[in-house]
């Protein structure tokens, strides 16, 4: 019998959790691929839903992109705890000495990574599909907004998926809880994107929206840290 475990460092615990989720995703390839496909299909449907191909949809760029990203995020977040749910493994995590807040952090970081992968596809695609006029020089700004919005989505999404985990119709409950909270993110993301895409370049508008998203992320971080323990302690 070897020496008993020391107090585990939270960096090691966090690394272990993220590594577990990424390993699972690499083995099963269930989530990221579906998210990317879903996003592309949604953009295509919107293209057809808004009239003929020759219509200039440039002014809808922000809205189309962010509605797509919001729904894709709901899909991805809904898969957050799927392994723990279907295989009943959650008790294993809960009986270990890992602080619940790290469970939140690990899931949020994983969702963040998946969203980045989706955006690598979606952001250029939106430019190709919808924008007539300058777009590619604004891509840096759009990517920045996306990164900040991803933090907002990841935090709120992990909190609500933690709650939804224990409900009955959980696949339906998550969107009902999550989407209203996402509305401000869509408004701000779409607004910021619209401010710089298609040649408009209104930097004060962009700044306003981006700072709002930073505020959203901070507020939800506080809420999550304050309540995440209570999600799991029975």
């Amino acid at each position: 019998m070897s020496a008993p475990a020391n107090r585990p460092r939270w960096t090691r615990q966090l690394r272990g959790l993220i590594r577990k989720d990424l390993r699972l995703e690499l083995r099963t390839r269930e989530t990221v691929v579906a998210m990317v496909l879903f996003a592309v299909v949604t953009l295509t449907i919107m293209q057809f839903g808004f009239g003929t191909r020759d219509d200039d949809l440039t002014r809808f760029t922000g809205g189309l992109m962010w509605v797509t990203l919001a729904f894709t995020a709901v899909l991805g977040v809904g898969r957050s705890y799927v392994a723990e749910r279907e295989q009943g493994v959650l008790d294993g995590l809960l009986v270990s000495p890992v602080p619940r807040v790290l469970l939140l952090a690990a899931k949020a970081i994983t969702i963040f990574i998946y969203l980045v992968i989706v955006e690598i596809v979606v952001i250029p695609l939106v430019g190709i599909f919808f924008v007539k006029g300058p777009y590619w020089d604004a891509i840096g700004w759009i990517a920045l907004v996306a990164l900040i919005a991803n933090v907002c989505i990841a935090l709120a999404g992990t909190l609500f998926s933690g709650l939804a985990l224990f409900t009955r119709a959980r696949d339906l409950i998550l969107p009902v809880l999550f989407l209203p909270a996402l509305v401000p993110v869509v408004i701000a993301g779409a607004g910021a994107t619209h401010a710089v895409a298609g040649g408009a370049y209104d930097m004060s508008e962009y700044r306003g929206y981006t700072l709002f998203l930073v505020g959203y992320a901070i507020l939800f971080l506080l809420v999550c840290v304050a309540t995440y323990d209570a999600v799991f302690d029975d």
Partner: protein, 240 residues
């Protein structure tokens, strides 16, 4: 066996009947005064005419619903600390009333929009839009409650009441920021310079609605305390 009186008695008397009665009387008086004042005594708005009067209630309801959701948030935080059922009662009743008032905000706002703009809905009114989001947020509270098992229901309601209340200012600001870029003129019923006589009635309406909220809250809490007391009696009889 837990004592029925200590566990269910409100601070003022058995099951809080006296508190409810007191607030009921106060609320009735104030609401009557406010209604008469808003409809008959307050000066008529030069631009918008009679229909502007509905704004006294529209704004008062909006503010009080925010108070209700704040109460629910605080009740949620307290419940997570103390884990006593009473705080879940307060939270649920507060959200229920807040939701009711929010729906009334939308209705009064919609009536006002129809009278001023000819349509039942205007995306340009930030309050109307925000309260739509708020209604969606707090309707979800009840969906969550009904789909969680007993042992988690109170805990999850508390967490959601806290998260929901964080979403409210975020919704307000995002809509406001968006409107300010799209419609540079911020759109409210009352201008920056409101005559003192109008302001007085706004304040009275707000206080009246607040009293109404408290009275209804006490009534709701009586209902829940009674339910719980009955349940305890039933269990005690079962175990005896």
């Amino acid at each position: 066996m837990p004592s029925l009186t200590t566990e269910t008695a409100a601070p003022t008397g058995v099951l809080g009947a006296r508190a409810a009665l007191l607030w009921g009387v106060i609320a009735t008086v104030l609401v009557t005064v406010a209604t008469i004042g808003a409809l008959l005594i307050a000066p008529e708005d030069a631009d918008q005419g009679v229909i502007q009067r509905i704004f006294y209630f529209h704004v008062a309801l909006a503010l009080v619903s925010l108070v209700a959701f704040a109460v629910a948030c605080v009740a949620g935080i307290t419940f997570l600390r103390a884990r006593t059922e009473r705080w879940d009662d307060v939270g649920e009743a507060a959200v229920r009333l807040g939701l009711l008032f929010s729906v009334l905000v939308i209705i009064t706002g919609s009536i006002w929009a129809k009278a001023s703009w000819g349509t039942w809905w205007v995306w340009a009114d930030p309050r109307l839009v925000t309260y739509l989001i708020v209604v969606l947020i707090y309707a979800a509270y009840f969906v969550l409650r009904s789909s969680v098992d007993d042992d988690r229901r109170m805990r999850f309601s508390a967490i959601y009441a806290i998260a929901g209340f964080a979403s409210v200012p975020l919704s307000f600001y995002s809509v406001r920021v968006a409107e300010s870029f799209v419609h540079p003129v911020v759109f409210t019923s009352s201008g920056a310079n409101m005559p003192g006589s109008m302001l007085v009635w706004f304040i009275i309406s707000f206080v009246a609605m607040l009293a109404l909220f408290i009275a209804l809250l006490e009534v709701e809490l009586i209902g829940r305390r009674t339910e719980r007391a009955l349940r305890r009696v039933a269990i005690a009889m079962e175990n005896a």
